[in-house]
Symmetry: D2
Subunit: 350 residues, 4 copies
């Protein structure tokens, strides 16, 4: 950590600051330039109170040199974390482990598909069967739905979870579904992968409690969250005990509104460099339009994504939410066919 | 609501859509242009499923003509809502009521001040006394703190609430403090004004439960929330029963980072036009710097704000959070003096 | 175009507005709802003065139904525009034309590569030869450089153009280079493809004059330009006479700064749907980092881009500008190898 | 300047970098931490090639400690620059100079008003007389207009400049008008204050040539320009010779579109801290709505602005551009009355 001291700071105040930092266990390096005086801190700066430092009247600026996240940081955990839930595998295998494990030497491109919201037993079972047939490895579907308007359909709730479990029983696919409130934690104990939605990425109490469940978690990036904030939220989950975190890029908010959000495709390689955790992409929510989903899916795979989360509905024009962005089972099947060649080019199989 | 139909949409599909909308109780108005076919819906469109409409293959676009919020909408509630909590009054009085009520014919500029977080009994009582002396009408202070990093100080929790109540007893000032989780609702029954933080603006389960407490709520705008989304979150609170909502503009996120956030001063007149609820501003969090807080406070008052939320700490350089943006009690006193003339120019008194 | 009238607008004023619009040649459709009064205009609304309408005191809002761009609009020009400059071909062929033209039935993935700025004859010729050998179809390189700081290297100017032409003579590659000012138009008459940079996307006088040159133009999207604004700038070029416009997505500005810009990969399919012009991507400027360029290049191809603009420098660590984002010739060669399979999957060849 | 070296960088490469930097005249300070190795540069880093440094494979990051602008930097020019054009005075006087100069001890709040575009002799003279009567100190009006669409009214051009001069002759008000292209520089020699529009803030060739005119320049902040970029554009003008630069905040682009732009009111105190130049605000373009202009004008004055740029039109509903945001002369007169008390509170007079 680098502390830039204001020009003309009183020597006494500067000395007092140095003493205080030494007392906190840091070694110090002072560099006096022509226009500036810079103090380098040597030691673990991850838990320092940056704001308190900035409030010191002689401090001009504080610059971080190392990342504030530790458990999620690839620097301290160089090997990829591989998450396995039934037949779904998330994360890129090393060549050695790939060979040993599946004979084919290939990592999985893990596609999770299903409707925005669970609407009926017939619907969820028919979609689950269809997406499984096309090669999906997990079933996604919302039972509790975060909706901008209190007047919109809010999901089937606990009943929806039961229908998802019925579809799991029928198809063997593990379930990914969103948990919105600490009130529902008990209902989710039997869910395979717990999704934290974009609007709850910084709902820190929820993160702590879900982390304490010690289950696989799919964490969506907030609409306007920086990568650093996203990784700090991962850190909340991990420091509470959950080590199997799937990070999901789902589009960010910009000045333009021609798509619902802007898929930040660069987040894929960047997150994979910064962290050891699998990174998946939700192209459906990123663009908000079924016709654009295949192009974004292919782009995500080509950029190295470990998996995809895709909305599929048996009858999009009658979907109770997000029909505009749902593929039909036929469209999804065609997309999976076209993804195979991109997956192969990236050393993966569907 | 206006539905733009795609060129060359099959006549059958168009007729089917019309029949379905008629069945939902709308009257229709068809307008055939040279390049476009437009369908106008006459009736209450606030509860229509816009996404389902957009998922219809013959629909090009859906344009809303009227606002989707009802309870918060000034169109259906023309008179200002006035919220009174002890000596704090939020909202602009009409000339008549102002005259009748306080003789002076002036609305209050309600300043709520206090530390970012409660740290000790001595601290909170000393700050409470200081801000009261300078004219503050409510005491703000955090007991439960939302922090980006799990390694940062998370607040004193329930103990902090007790200290706030002790300060209230000592000074008579009502308390404003943040509720982060439905788990803590019982602890907040005796709090005067419940604050929902920016990161929880779309924590819909929290909104529903807090709305059900039927107490005054101060709702902060999310970091990247549109005004429409903000008003839909107000609508969540109101439709759950809480009619006394104080809307708080606290800066939004942009491409620039020279301030922590960008105070969106236009939100003040716009919200006051769209809604009947009081609008306050938090200049401290908007800029994140004590030296800039006075300029933004004055700007907010000049733009018509009903109140301010200002961070004051007895020793900013030792504050456990956000010291950089905290005023000293002396700075706060000087600011209140300088605000008086702006308040007066807006027909208000401190 | 839809005009929403304010509730309680005086009938006289409404009639006056209707008369004025009729006099401008529009047919009108009036739709009276329960809360709103809506006026639909039938006729060519592309040249209407929207701001003047909004300034009318009885007008609540004006909603456009059809796009304001005409020449760039696929609706009026359904077939892809194919741009050929020496061996470079931009745009997707129809199956029929593809077969007739090159026997292979494939469109080109047109890669344009070269250094950020021309620095010497040796440098530009060595890079040109290297990128040609790897399969590039055009040479890019800056002679006039837009730099944020007046103290940074501003490019070699006219001398740089001469060096580019020498490299063209040596390799046969057509040249793409940026024109920054109307003062230099004469110098660019012999340039193959004129680039308009992101910062000049709304330099309308430059657009008009460059449009008048009636040469192929590569127009970069502005840092914070909407797709609609981008297409209106294309419209400036086309209405001045230049029909061969290559649209370039090069990343947009967001709230996050972990990359220089955020590649907006959705712009590729969207622009190809809205317009008939070729769409290329500049991954180097989008991310600002050489290590991330391959992932973004592959993503762009997978999303359907007609070409790429990639920075290649013989010695990035000594480059006079943007070395951080330049590939070495060896890296570029490896990238081209890996792109071949993605190009093939999209029905293209390098 | 601080250079963070990658962990495990080869010692040889690190030594080579140090030698190179020493050869460029810097003194170096090496700080080895537990996780990081940091190199501090002592010397004038304003002209260093930051990108070249970042392209060095052993460099992790480069952090600037001092600002890259020099001429505009208050650190090197502590006293306010005061710009006088006829009776217009821009900049805050020191108490001493204020007393000496006008006896009243007050700085001016310089209001510049007029129509978006000049439309006729009658129009511009009538508006000029009206705004002068209400206390405006300069006449603004566009002759050359930057318009998003090529089909919109582009301004009267040279004829418009003549009409502005006629209005100046009639009223004595100095003229502020926008110069869009180096082609028109000769036409602007007799203009009092040359405006550079937001879209041309980074049209560097224009900045260089306009700087060379050595006249007062009003530079508008770009739609998505950071404060640092804005100050670098000021630096372009100043390094070319123009020392009288008026910086204009006119709203920035965000994710929300309820106003045309978001007035960044914090820019006022921040720019006044960083630079010695006067800072003015254009509330009309910031919000794009006449009804909101008074609130934003008052906020800007309260935040310390040195002046305002306000659109006034004799008949907004018939204005050829931006009628929606134009005040009538009557509204403007009322606004000026209400501004007087805010100006006085800030130690200024109209």
């Amino acid at each position: 950590m680098i502390i830039v001291i204001k020009p003309n700071a009183p020597e006494n105040d500067f000395n007092a600051l140095k003493e205080r930092l030494k007392a906190e266990g840091f070694r110090l390096n002072v560099s006096r330039g022509e226009e500036t005086l810079v103090l380098g801190l040597i030691g673990d700066a991850s838990k320092i109170n940056e704001e308190q430092l900035k409030a010191n009247p002689i401090v001009e600026n504080v610059l971080r040199v190392s990342a504030p996240y530790k458990l999620a940081n690839r620097a301290f955990h160089p090997q990829n974390t591989i998450i396995r839930v039934k037949d779904a595998v998330l994360g890129r295998l090393t060549p050695a482990s790939a060979g040993a494990e599946n004979g084919a030497g290939k990592s999985q491109l893990c596609v999770m598909a299903g409707p925005c919201s669970v609407e009926s037993l017939e619907q969820i079972i028919s979609v689950a069967k269809a997406v499984k047939k096309s090669g999906a490895r997990a079933l996604r579907g919302g039972a509790f739905k975060p909706r901008t308007s209190p007047y919109s359909f809010q999901g089937m709730g606990a009943k929806g979870l039961e229908l998802l479990k019925a579809a799991r029983k029928e198809t063997g696919l593990p379930i990914v579904t969103e948990l919105m409130s600490v009130r529902e934690i008990d209902l989710f104990q039997d869910i395979d992968i717990i999704q934290i939605g974009a609007r709850n990425m910084q709902n820190f109490d929820l993160l702590k409690e879900v982390g304490g469940m010690v289950k696989p978690v799919l964490l969506k990036r907030g609409l306007s969250s920086t990568i650093k904030e996203l990784l700090m939220s991962v850190e909340y989950l991990m420091s509470a005990g959950a080590m199997e975190i799937i990070i999901c890029e789902r589009g960010v908010r910009t000045f333009d509104s021609y798509t619902r959000n802007c898929l930040d495709v660069s987040a894929i390689p960047y997150l994979q460099k910064e962290t050891h955790l699998p990174v998946v992409v939700d192209p459906s929510h990123a663009c908000g339009a079924a016709w654009m989903t295949p192009a974004l899916s292919k782009a995500a795979v080509a950029a190295g994504a470990d998996g995809l989360l895709i909305e599929v509905h048996n009858n999009p024009a009658c979907a109770l939410c997000d029909g505009e962005q749902s593929l039909t089972p036929e469209d999804f099947s065609a997309l999976m066919d076209s993804l195979a060649v991109y997956a192969a080019a990236e050393g993966r199989r569907l």
